[in-house]
Symmetry: C3
Subunit: 680 residues, 3 copies
């Protein structure tokens, strides 16, 4: 449980009383209560208020707000407000300002704007966190610490350049090792001195859009920047922990955000929290994958939904309203996949600034007679009724999909074979196939223990880190099913190619050799021709993007290409290895193939769908103390059927007992509980 | 009349004799006379010639040109040539050079390149204007002063930053007021000192494409820059006036040019002039709207068409020739809408530089045996015959459309709800509906007196300035018809939301409340379903872009949405208020709706079409001393009909008396005069 | 012959042993021999290795490589490695770093990165070339010198600015002449001092995409930069020649690369070499045109194919594999058009850096059991069998197409009439028509002697250089057929318009006057209506892009426009001049027109197809000592027919004697030799 003080699904969100007057504060509290809100995130962007100059700190306003809320039964998620430095600091200490990718020294403005290696920033951010922790360490209203906000962005200033060199020295020891790791004899880039190394941006090795002329340095720079920002977080974390050991600490992440290695970050967080902002065209399965990934960051520990909008966003191209019921539906989607909080940005809309058209529980009109408020309040009430039964329940999966930020960076930075290769898209294709079949998946990092899974899928496992091939071999030897794809096993952690034939370290496990990799425009399709019916695979399918020209070296050829000069070469192979099997999919297949493929390997492993339901219905399960909670979410615009069969389940939202074929209305949610959980 | 010395429609254009030799000058004069040219704009880009170094001025060449022209009956529009500083000045005083949006200090090059807050630029520009005025104050050949050229562009240098702080101090008095006006507690942007404020560009608060993270500062910066450039103009204006009180002063504007608040500028101009460069795909109604807007800048006072091309441009993507007759047609379009001059860029084509492929009266071939020259000369002759009867005639309208630069900036800078919202497009949609029905419209600013109008339309009146709601209420109370649309009444002059429900200050007048604003991709359409036939409105229409979810609070619901979850909610309402009505159009309707809507409200007000004519025919009317001049312009590629009915009119271009149904050839023009003007 | 030491078609490519260890070197040599490789290009990017600091030089590693290869019968193409400076040099002497188009000083990174006017770069590049030449001047393994690599890119630093002013002084003598040449009175740009002139980039006169506000300075800057880089080359060339007079020197060019005037460069090269990287959509005729252009640089002298990929590239969007047979096919295409070498980038794939996914003879798998190696080895064997019979054979053409870099720059920089005008595309259209008809063409510069040709085609001869009109007149007077197009004869070498009517200096020769130039969106087509059948021209065709409105002034009108207001005006004219004819094509015609037009003028001149063959089959001929070698290349995906008729030819690749109709398989090649060559 995140904090025993509030043993339920927390409900609330970002709250900026400092932008309002006393009269509004009273009205806020009245309306929060109406809405069943019990947590407010305070102090997210108030550094300039907390510290009006270098020596002065002023928390009186904050005392008042925390007290006022607590007296009304509302807890505080207390932010440290270091996500944007004060204007006076930028003026007095320009070292807090970043230099951008184009080498431009920035001025004061926007947010998430501090150089992570700025001594000034680090000093004052740490000090502010310390002062806040000291002041509120004993306040019963404080539920959790929220360090900074949505860490992100890179910096290219001189102090970062110097820090990068130190980081490299710590990692490599000698310049010779750097030269080796980056293969600097290519293009005559040999370094003789640490000071010759400059940051990779448009002035040196990179172009916009993750294009690099030297992958080694670009990859290490990303690791360094992710670490630099993490150090900033860690400084605040440590400062807080010195005062308040028992209150958990988090910072809000952003799903598959590109720039930070969240698996590394999660290790430094007491609980993962994240901000969920799907766009107008985001598939529900992509949102589900993000939730599963956030849950996976700490090996399944429940996480916080820190932000979502109650209605619309402001920063998308077309900021559609969430249709009636959708806010509730998506809130339950988060809970279904491991969230123990439902929180909004924002509780009350600002009147000025760039987010004034971002949805809020309390709209500009100011009263409760709005659709948005009604929906919010209804959900608040519902969540209170659900009580604590679901809190801390876990999600169990027999299938894992591997996701790795460093691998993703390397894939992005790779010059060739195709600009159309998108790591997230490829991972999502596999995820979506399981999602469609209502089979639970864990999104795992490369450090995760594999022994708890029956099936492990690692799409585009381009970079094979030290020891990982062995780990996968052990998994398969012990009976596991492993699946990987084209453009896998190519490089080591430094983006240096493993010689001796692709897929490198995975070659023996997979029993194949990929001789060449063809890349065509995505509109150019080839065929996957199944040789003879295998599980649910039969006939032919389509594939595109990349085409490995592989030779079976022990693997069984399940399907061949149907076109082009490599017609008849294998496109799908299965290699028996120990007690398990290792599959290789040599191109990017269509959804039909993936559904048939996924159902086949699941049947092999006797992994069953959580619940039979029509397309458009999402199903997920959380379990706790032997109880199962099946979440059934109808994302479709019409009603759909769910097939419970013989089994009897209680819909916790209606207390109705259900069995057989039941209809679920558009955008509706069911939470089907059992009395006793079976074989978990 | 602009200047009594030339009591006719002036005819001429930009002339750069300094690029040519004596032999050419003689030839120029010969051909100007052939073409009926009586005004030449001199000295537009000759600063380097007028002032070869810091202390030397040389106007001998200019004396000769003005004299030479005057002796041949050609007047001078005398420019001050401060639109581009000399290279020596940029070298010696780099403060004249701008810093661009990306923070880059520019070097010498291009034009319209001077920092408006450069002390050097201001000093020497003012001095040059003064010297010219002193020298030519008594020259009978000088008709009008032309200050600088096409003012525009912004600067982001340190001296502009300092001036911005002074501008803010003058406007707000205290930093506390600034913080309030910009709502700086959002994102912790509180300023404690003026020097902490930096200009909003890519280094601080903005991104390319009118994207800002802080609308308040971005809005004030635009006002400040418009004012800064205006101050430059004003310095020259004052310097000239000290010497020549009687000669009018102008500077050439550019229609709906984004960066300057022309309503404010026009106050400082004796006469408005502008450069009309429609692109290959510009609708004629857009050009008409631009003319009407330029006329509206000084409340209907006739304006100058300072520049248009006789044939083609050089700076568009595809520089199509003006088809035969089109130059004449478009020249009369300007006159029809209030222009008292027809002037070209340029009289003779340069042989080098970026505009050498821009059309000219005298082409590179050099002689008069060209289509372009023949058309130019024919028009020159025609304009001489028209004599002075039309000069100073006014355009009268019962309908006004509100146009406001500050509102436009605020709409552009708004983050959300939709990137597809284009203020100009929305205004033009309404304008085009009146244009199609041959009903005269005034384009007015927010300072304009409304009492002279029957109908006032303010599309997307997002920003409601102090007192404007009251002004509109009075207008409606007194019987006026007011129309506004979605996304109106939202903010005050500082882009701070008016609380208490959209459309804010307009809510009572309109009798509605807009609870939410949906934004969808423009391809997603909804329906406007008319409840029962109202005027010409019946059946259903389409709308898209934004969709206000409104509740009638007293207003009559004329139409409802036909789709989506707000099906059945009002999309068109009409509120009786005092003796008038206030309409609200909650989405962006299709053209059919607008035609039916506009004809309905005009019928209600007994506002009639100027003249029945087929589609493709533009009609406008100027009146003077009880005479009416109906301009009939056939923009179509085939002949069209015009229905005069019983009334008899004289075509001033042919002296033919017309009545009944008459045919007008493709690209042809008629000016139909009456003996005596009726009820004006 | 490039070098008598290896009297055959050289076969090899770029080789980077410095990235590998001894074991690999042995394996390399073994595999090179298997593949028939006899040339390896060494030391391309090894400056940092050759010169680890300012005073130390280390060539031991290079000694070993050259010796090792030579002992195994493999020659060295020895690069000077100045294509990328060492990191230590960038650190110690930042003057070697470029400033980019946006005014940004670069840091160390990428390649082709040295400021061409950097004193440091010039000093050390020259010194390195000298040291290499001194060391290897007597090494029998060195076949040719390869200076730097793929020269290109521009610099905008202060030292370049100063050098530009000196370059201008040398060219123009006085600032008055500069002002005249650039027409600086336009926009008041008059310069009074050399130091007022700044480089044209985004900070002054240009915008990205070859957009300039002042064509004169932009044109001279391009000449200056091409010269600056050429001076760098020349410094190394001279340094080498001082030591090794007999070994030829080259640098690898890049076909129609925009930034350098290769005709000027070629004069300084002993032999032309170039890198051929067609993209996935490049037409074969475009590649052929590039080869012909490279051959034309030195008036037909055989050239080197310095680089091509054996399989795929890494830097294109979609890096498709070369299909089976295509590498061989395209290698012969190079030979067919004058190449005496077939060389690859690269012999062994790197394991790290941006080109690790660029194809190589030895792939990452490391052994010879790959498709790519097998194809490479087969071609190596075949080339050894061909022996020296073809080496130094010439290509003879009766048709020349004029290509001029300065003209191209001027066309690109021109503001108007159409952004869709692409000089390369227009030239290629004409080239492709001859290619389709298997008629040999020379691509020539403006310095080339015209008397050897029957037909000279100069598409878009916008810039007519001093004396060139006279030269063409003489050619036509003597019986030649000259063809030019719209937008020709407009300006002189300074981009100043020739007054008196387009096409300026060509007007008399062509017997026409172009009164106006219309520009429409390329989707807007007009018709070319042939008045009466002329040669193969009859009926009507389409044209688009630009439309000159011409008047015949003595020329015969062959075709007229079929649409628009210039319907009936000439679009194709033919002017008898002396003993020849001068054609003018006033718009951009479709391919059908061009085929009919080209066949007509060839028939007039009795120029015959080299060989009748189906479409998709390319034919070219080289001749030597009275022998003819007809290359027949089937680019199609199916077999095609070739029609030898009565004549008997020997296929040198099979020793089979061929006559009559013969079939050639997809991607196959024939080299048809004769016993005795006829009338050459």
């Amino acid at each position: 449980m995140i904090n025993e003080r509030l043993p339920k699904i927390w409900y609330g969100g970002d709250y900026n009383p400092e932008q309002w007057d006393e009269k509004t504060w009273d009205e806020d509290v009245r309306m929060f209560k109406l809405a069943g809100i019990d947590v407010a995130t305070l102090n997210v962007f108030s550094w300039a208020l907390n510290q009006p100059d270098e020596e002065t700190y002023d928390f009186d306003w904050l005392d008042d707000k925390i007290d006022r809320l607590y007296k009304n039964g509302i807890y505080t998620c207390l932010a440290t407000s270091t996500g944007a430095h004060p204007a006076w600091m930028a003026k007095k200490y320009p070292d807090v300002l970043r230099v951008d990718f184009f080498g431009r020294k920035r001025k004061f403005g926007a947010r998430h704007n501090s150089c992570p290696n700025s001594p000034t920033y680090r000093k004052y951010a740490e000090r502010l966190a310390s002062k806040l922790a000291e002041r509120y360490k004993n306040h019963s209203g404080v539920l959790i610490w929220h360090v900074s906000n949505e860490y992100g962005g890179y910096c290219y200033c001189d102090q970062c350049e110097k820090s990068f060199r130190v980081w490299l020295q710590n990692k490599y020891g000698t310049i010779t090792e750097v030269n080796k790791a980056w293969n600097t004899r290519f293009w005559g880039h040999t370094f003789y001195d640490w000071d010759e190394i400059v940051l990779p941006n448009i002035l040196s090795e990179e172009q916009p859009g993750e294009v690099s002329f030297f992958q080694g340095i670009s990859l290490d720079y990303r690791r360094f920047m992710s670490d630099s920002l993490l150090e900033c977080y860690q400084l605040e974390y440590n400062a807080i922990k010195q005062h308040t050991k028992d209150i958990p600490i988090t910072t809000n992440l952003m799903g598959t955000y590109l720039e930070l290695d969240y698996f590394k970050w999660a290790k430094a967080m007491d609980v993962v929290s994240w901000d969920n902002y799907p766009g107008i065209d985001t598939p529900e399965s992509m949102t589900a994958m993000n939730h599963d990934l956030m849950r996976g960051l700490k090996s399944g520990q429940p996480f916080m939904l820190m932000e979502q909008t109650p209605s619309q966003q402001n920063w998308q191209a077309y900021n559609a309203l969430k249709r009636p019921g959708v806010m509730r539906l998506w809130s339950y989607q988060a809970i279904a996949r491991g969230a123990d909080t439902v929180m909004f940005f924002q509780l009350r809309r600002s009147i000025g600034g760039t987010e004034k058209y971002h949805g809020a529980v309390i709209e500009h009109v100011g009263h409760e007679q709005t659709r948005v408020f009604r929906e919010t309040a209804a959900l608040g009430t519902e969540l209170q009724h659900l009580s604590e039964q679901m809190v801390d329940a876990r999600v169990h999966a027999k299938v894992a999909i591997v996701f790795d930020w460093e691998n993703r960076w390397a894939v992005n930075l790779s010059s060739g074979p195709s600009i159309a290769l998108d790591y997230i898209e490829e991972v999502h294709k596999y995820y979506a196939a399981f999602y469609e079949q209502k089979i639970q998946v864990d999104m795992i990092g490369v450090d995760e223990d594999l022994s708890k899974y029956e099936i492990v899928i690692a799409p585009v496992l381009y970079m094979v880190k030290k020891g990982y091939a062995k780990k996968v071999e052990t998994f398969v030897e012990n009976g596991g099913t492993f699946v990987t794809t084209f453009f896998s096993g190519i490089v080591n952690e430094n983006d240096l190619v493993t010689l001796g034939g692709y897929p490198g370290e995975l070659r023996q496990l997979l029993g194949i050799w990929a001789e060449e990799i063809d890349a065509l425009h995505p509109d150019n399709k080839n065929k996957i021709v199944i040789k003879e019916k295998t599980g649910n695979l039969q006939g032919q399918y389509e594939c595109n993007l990349l085409f490995d020209l592989i030779h079976a070296e022990g693997a069984e050829v399940i399907a061949e290409y149907g076109d082009d000069f490599y017609k008849g070469m294998p496109v799908l192979t299965k290699n028996a290895f120990g007690h398990g099997n290792a599959w290789y999919i040599a191109s990017s297949p269509d959804d039909t193939f993936l559904n048939d493929f996924v159902s086949s390997i699941c049947e092999d492993k006797n992994i069953k769908t959580l619940l039979q339901a029509d397309s458009g219905v999402e199903v997920s399960e959380r379990t706790k103390n032997g109880h199962s909670y099946l979440f059934v979410l109808n994302h479709a615009d019409e009603s759909r059927n769910v097939y419970l069969g013989e089994s009897e389940r209680t819909n916790l939202l209606t207390d109705k007992i259900q069995s057989g074929t039941i209809s679920i209305e558009a955008k509706q949610v069911m939470i089907l509980g059992n009395q006793q959980l079976g074989d978990l």
